[in-house]
Symmetry: C2
Subunit: 137 residues, 2 copies
DNA sequence: CTAATTGCAAAAGCTTTGCAGCGCA
DNA sequence: TGCGCTGCAAAGCTTTTGCAATTAG
């Protein structure tokens, strides 16, 4: 039951939070902008303000329930934080997002940070790709 | 002479463009926000509008003279496009930016894109790090 | 001379915030 | 009941755009 998820985070179980969590889980896409979530709420007939969507998503992010990404689109996209870490591949033609994880890359990243005297806290890796066969500009 | 760089790009050699190019080359930091560039222009006593800074940087980017990055800071940073490709490591404590390039990671990225039926057009890899010894929150 | 470029101010996104009222615990 | 949460509207930021004046070639 999702309401437990919220309680465990110290957040009151409110209708907006439940609905937003639902949309993140079963909203059709794994990667949603705040607008996307807001639109789905409206379509579902829910009276939730866009400001609340941002506030809730930000709280979820702070709680580790959600990850925020900045693909080069001018706005953030949010996804439910899954158990396993992964990176993203974005198709420049279709906008399709593919997730992947490469242990070798992960290992190298850690090694590189340490080689420079730092500890790796987080990272962002996004591949911008095109279907094979099409030529760029 | 830098004015040749501009001419080669098909851009008129104007004072704002020359000054901005100069700042990108000798501005103290390799990675500058539009505001950073604008502030340096003001400090140098130049009468250049912020809108012009954005327009010029965007033109330079389109021309391949400059690269735009989106570190998680809420604004873009620009750097002169150097010959060799490289990625970035950002220190969360100090904001320091370190450049690096790892052939193994580059190779894996290309292979991953192709394994999914795509051609790698571009990528963004940013490591967020902390000096060793300090604990995160 | 003429098209490109610039400055200013206004507008356009996306996101955050102030505040009064509502609702969960 | 009380504090947290929400909605609305307004404000904040970065970035873009319209337009008349200016300038490079």
């Amino acid at each position: 039951m999702e309401s437990d998820d919220l309680r465990k985070l110290g957040l009151k179980v409110t209708l907006p939070r439940m609905k937003i969590l639902e949309i993140l889980e079963h909203g059709g896409k794994r990667h949603l902008s705040a607008e996307d979530v807001y639109r789905q709420l409206l379509e579902a007939g829910e009276e939730v303000g866009l400001a609340t969507v941002y506030r809730v998503l930000t709280q979820f992010e702070a709680a580790g329930l959600v990850r925020r990404h900045n693909f080069d689109e001018g706005h953030s996209v949010f996804e439910l934080a899954s158990e396993e870490h992964h990176d993203h591949m974005v198709c420049l033609k279709t906008g399709r997002v593919i997730e992947f994880c490469d242990p070798e890359i992960e290992r190298r990243q850690k090694a590189i940070a340490e080689a420079h005297g730092y500890r790796l806290c987080d990272h962002s890796l996004i591949l911008y790709v095109e279907p094979i066969g099409e030529e760029g500009s």
